[in-house]
Symmetry: C2
Subunit: 707 residues, 2 copies
């Protein structure tokens, strides 16, 4: 009778627990559900009977707590934390050791070493942050079902500043955010600390992100006020035990707006003094404050050019304001003047390259992956390799501003990796963007990478569940840019979706293909910047008038009766000349230019045959059609994995894929119908011409532009 | 051994379940946790052994499913749904009966009757919606620990249209929303139906809300496009089984913006035809579509006056466009012209009262509770009682635009009730606003009430956990305006926070006092509209210049060296003359006017003695100080209930109360320091003058106004 009641109660409790456990995505990849298979679970249980940690610093305590939480969940049994292993074996030992090394090599301050010692697994490093990263690495081993026996792993981050940039506004909106409102609750801070902040910090620490710029680069001056610094300090207090430093985007005119000065001229003594005092004030409130990010003289933001000074004048004054504080200035190179006869491609280069060597040692120049603006595919930015005396911080975009918002499944690691692996030839072959950024090409001590966050207050953080993979992949690549997108996709899939091997293969392949597919149905062959005006939603290749010429589509695709594409060779804008000769050679000849970059650099005749055997027009149509149809394939792949997936999660993504299919057809129809008005050729058989008219599609696009 | 393993497993599962059960507020008042006390639980178990329902209509199926879910949770045992009770007793029987009556009275279509029959509890009504409301009423009985034995309850809604108005924009922001982004995911619709929509519908149905206007009254025309109607139809499909009809706010110029016409003149035949065709299109997609809400010629929105027509011309054309479809037009009376010498108080009256009798029978005129705009306290709107031939729909605001956003605990039922109970004397004493609105005074068949929703995508829906009480209270009052704020507060507290009797008393009292306290520290004695410009955050009584004179503060408080307050007597704007003589008498004499309304109607000398024995200046200071100090009392009350509260929820509100205290002091200091510059008198002892200066407070206010 007792037994029967217990079973009944058990059933009820299980039912209650599982109903509250429909996967709503909140836990991200930090899912510590009990491993169902007894055999591997027992193996892990034998290797993780306790956690020995004598550390009292926040990072080590965080590491021990996270290991306990994770292992207790995964192994289905409580794992105690003890002060020391003593004579016990079969446990995990956390050890901060200022002299820690691995294989005779000193570890970097954040690098960790996991190894076996006396039948225990030791996680060591020179700092408590290193041990924290090692703890998450160990959990990842278990989550991805890798063996622990004989584990010997050493890992150092290749890039020092691994940052998220939040484009979050003080009113709670997120510029280019598609996952709800900002997670920062400014009206509640500093009194209330949303528990979500801690989970955010855990997620970042688990993938090695060590800094967050919490506010939009189009910055409000208010963040530098005492009122807001108290709020920022409260957030920094949550981040600190997770090895994360807080940074602020600053509004250049802050000394005027909140400082009562009548100028923000960087060479004005009162301005210098104001910033120095402000830095002191900040560091008093936030001793580990990371520094400043600046968008100046760009898209209407104020900057030093308002006073006849240049970017270096501005950046250096700010860097010097930091004095002896341990902070940096990240100065964005995303600048472009309105010039209908120019080429926006060249403008950041022309403004910044001449300043190489003029920056203070505390300044990093932050450069987007490509020369325009986070398009689905861009050639690498010509500044990479062109400013050897300046550490360049790579900025990539995780929020899918130009990649389908939160309804298109696009795994971004291939995009980021394509940039990282691009060879600048700056110091001969092998001078990849990755090696420029990590400092090895030019021997910089400072190195950095930033991802524009795709995070919002949506329950699952990123809107599209697979957006989580982009947050994850960014962190992993920031730590180690040698990792492959496939490896990262498989890790994320196992930790987040399923460990069932066939499903993991299917889903990893789906993720890997997704970005190429997106490019195909939106901007094949090197097309770029043909999306909807202002909101950047859907296609608008016909856009010919906008607030600025370089905000139109025709500025970029230059379609006419002859052909399509932006001639950036010597016969055109000659933007190609910004690259090293080897790069020019690779892209400079329309006959040999890889098709993915063709229309970035060449104006190609509609009837020009391509290496595929098709004319440009026919190839263009073929790519739009096959791209859109590939979304059907994506739907099939997702469906194939269904048995291995949580039903709620499955339904969520399945529905988004339906929308993606609809919108892929929208892009296809809009682009082939519009370009057809210039190419004046039929949609090639066997492709079936769109059932709707160009006017239909234009109406639809216009609808989404309405107030 | 087996037993031991089972227990261990049980412990684990319970631990897992309870850890995922920290109260994050998502479940609102529909918490179906098992009743801990065995004795009452067993009593309920005996009365709810099964649910008998032969109904196959959506509403009855919804009712049966919700009862099953709720009772299974509350009673801790599965409650089966069967087709018929047969000879079984001790169950609950759902019965739709077109002839259902109670006590010899026919039920209204949505009214329910719960009674005992052959040892079963029968929930009956004329429609399946009625049975659904009865089911939620039964669950409420259990949740609030009321007995079921011998239950005999009849309840009819007093008002027919019980609506939420969402001020949600297509881009996902919510105008005057403080709980995150919109819950409507327009980019995902219609393919993806967020599970949250269903929980939203459940919550509304549980309190009798039967219609939702899903978009901002400052409306985008896009909602009337085929593309968006498909999305709206998908939402309507989720709402339908919960008895909820979907309505749209319409942009008056839609025939021009999306219809291709060159006018939106309501008397233009093409415009009429466009709207008629649009209505047909809507009803084809959404057969139970509720109708239109219109904000026209108000705050910059287009309207019939753009064509020399009046509000009735516009409303009637739209009503006639509905043809035989079962829908209504709700036309907002919230209009006011910029006039620095006028009195905004009078403007809606002056525009609408002369139109009484001119409206189509399908039109309701939607009137805010007060004449200005959702201030913390307003006299009732003078249109109530002044348009006997027109059904007036009462609009109240649940989102705390002027009541402290999501950091101030303000229970709004007393505010709403104050308006409902106000006597217009339209047809002699007892012609309360409630009876005007519910149609009994003027014998209208149509009756309606709307609450501007305080709902967003925050996990707990309303930002401040106690914001949920305002959603709840609105629904309950909309159903039965005779309920007391205290009764509703106690219900909500028991269902949402705790059933511990002492804590329920403490919390109910806290809720009841909260609005008076808010008034005291922000706008005592009838002050109004002295909040921060544009965002309406914090105090700004010194605001003298704005986009319009009636957006300043000085327009309303009229402080000068003589005194304070807006003279609306015959000697002033004479707005008082809009009311019936009995009302004029009540408010018209500064000596006898209730202090809560004093400065709404009188310019009172600073040194004028009030019935409290203090001068106006001293009374003003006293109220600001005691109001701000009452927040300390609120904190104490909340702390007193701590043992009965979920720890996460406790901490959340405790932190918000800290912010509330800080901001109450902000209001106090801003107001007494500013008014002191005109009153030129000291802060009366024993009150301690603010430590900060007026300049300090002004700087702080300005900070929150920055970009």
């Amino acid at each position: 009778m007792l037994l029967r009641n217990v079973f009944l109660l058990l059933l009820l409790v299980v039912a209650a627990a599982s109903s509250s456990r429909a996967d709503d995505g909140y836990r991200l990849w930090l899912k510590y559900d009990r491993i169902a298979d007894a055999a591997p679970r027992q193996q892990y249980q034998r290797a993780a009977q306790f956690i020995a940690s004598s550390g009292t610093t926040p990072g080590v305590r965080t590491a021990a707590a996270e290991l306990q939480r994770g292992l207790s969940g995964l192994l289905g049994q409580a794992v105690p934390v003890v002060a020391a292993a003593g004579s016990r074996t079969g446990g995990i030992v956390l050890r901060v050791d200022a002299q820690a090394s691995a294989g005779g090599q000193a570890l970097k301050p954040e690098g960790y070493h996991i190894f076996s010692e006396k039948n225990n697994l030791v996680i060591t490093g020179r700092t408590d942050r290193a041990v924290l990263y090692g703890a998450f690495a160990l959990l990842r081993q278990v989550q991805t079902r890798q063996p622990l026996a004989g584990l010997n792993v050493t890992s150092n981050p290749r890039i020092n500043f691994r940052l998220l940039n939040h484009w979050d506004n003080p009113n709670g909106t997120v510029e280019r955010g598609y996952a709800g409102s900002s997670i920062w609750q400014w009206y509640e801070l500093p009194e209330r600390l949303d528990p979500r902040y801690t989970d955010y910090a855990r997620a970042n620490a688990s993938i090695g992100i060590n800094g967050v710029v919490i506010n939009n680069v189009n910055a409000s001056a208010r963040y530098l006020s005492a009122e807001y610094l108290a709020k920022v300090a409260a957030l920094a207090g949550v981040m600190r035990p997770y090895g994360i430093r807080v940074y602020l985007s600053v509004m250049w005119a802050a000394p005027k707006v909140i400082g009562g000065l009548n100028t923000a001229d960087p060479l004005d003594p009162a301005v210098k003094q104001w910033w120095a005092a402000k830095s002191d004030e900040i560091y008093k409130a936030i001793p580990d404050f990371g520094g400043f990010l600046v968008k100046a003289n760009s898209e209407g933001e104020p900057g030093p050019q308002d006073y006849g000074r240049n970017h270096a004048d501005g950046a250096n004054m700010l860097a010097q304001s930091l004095g002896r504080h341990d902070g940096v200035v990240m100065w964005r190179a995303f600048v472009y003047k309105a010039n209908s006869n120019g080429d926006r491609f060249k403008e950041a280069y022309e403004e910044f390259q001449p300043l190489d060597g003029k920056f203070d040692p505390k300044v990093l120049v932050q450069v987007k992956n490509g020369p325009i603006d986070f398009q689905a595919r861009e050639p690498f930015h010509p500044l990479f390799g062109a400013m050897p005396k300046t550490p360049l911080l790579l900025e990539v975009q995780l929020t899918q501003e130009y990649l389908g918002f939160a309804t298109h499944l696009v795994y971004l690691a291939p995009l980021i990796k394509e940039c990282l692996e691009a060879d600048t030839y700056a110091k001969g072959p092998g001078s990849t963007v990755a090696k420029v950024v990590d400092g090895t090409v030019d021997h910089h001590e400072l190195s950095g990478i930033a991802g524009v966050a795709n995070i919002g207050a949506d329950r699952n953080w990123t809107g599209h569940p697979v957006g989580q993979a982009n947050w994850y992949a960014f962190g992993r690549l920031a730590w180690d840019h040698m990792l492959s997108p496939e490896t990262i996709a498989a890790e994320w899939t196992k930790m987040t979706l399923t460990t069932e091997p066939a499903a993991v293969r299917t889903l990893t392949n789906l993720l890997e293909q997704s970005r190429s597919i997106y490019v195909r149905y939106t901007t094949p062959l090197g097309l770029h910047h043909i999306m909807g005006e202002s909101i950047h939603y859907g296609p608008q290749p016909w856009l010919a008038k906008a607030g600025r010429p370089d905000w139109t589509a025709v500025y970029y695709h230059k379609a006419d009766s002859v052909g399509l594409g932006f001639d950036r060779t010597a016969g055109g804008s000659n933007a190609l000349a910004l690259y090293k000769p080897e790069v020019q050679k690779q892209w400079g000849n329309a006959q040999t230019c890889p098709l993915n970059y063709l229309l970035w650099f060449h104006h190609v005749g509609w009837r020009q045959p391509l290496p595929t055997g098709r004319t440009l027009w026919n190839e263009l149509c073929t790519r739009y059609y096959t791209g859109a149809d590939s979304v059907l394939w994506m739907q099939q792949q997702w469906a194939a994995a269904k048995p291995a997936l949580d039903p709620a999660l499955y339904a969520d993504v399945a529905a988004r894929l339906q929308t993606q299919r609809k919108e892929a057809l929208w892009w296809r129809d809009a682009c082939v119908l519009y370009f057809q008005t210039l190419a004046r050729q039929p949609i090639p058989a066997p492709l079936v011409p769109p059932a709707r008219s160009l006017a239909d599609v234009k109406n639809l696009v216009q609808l989404y532009q309405l107030k």
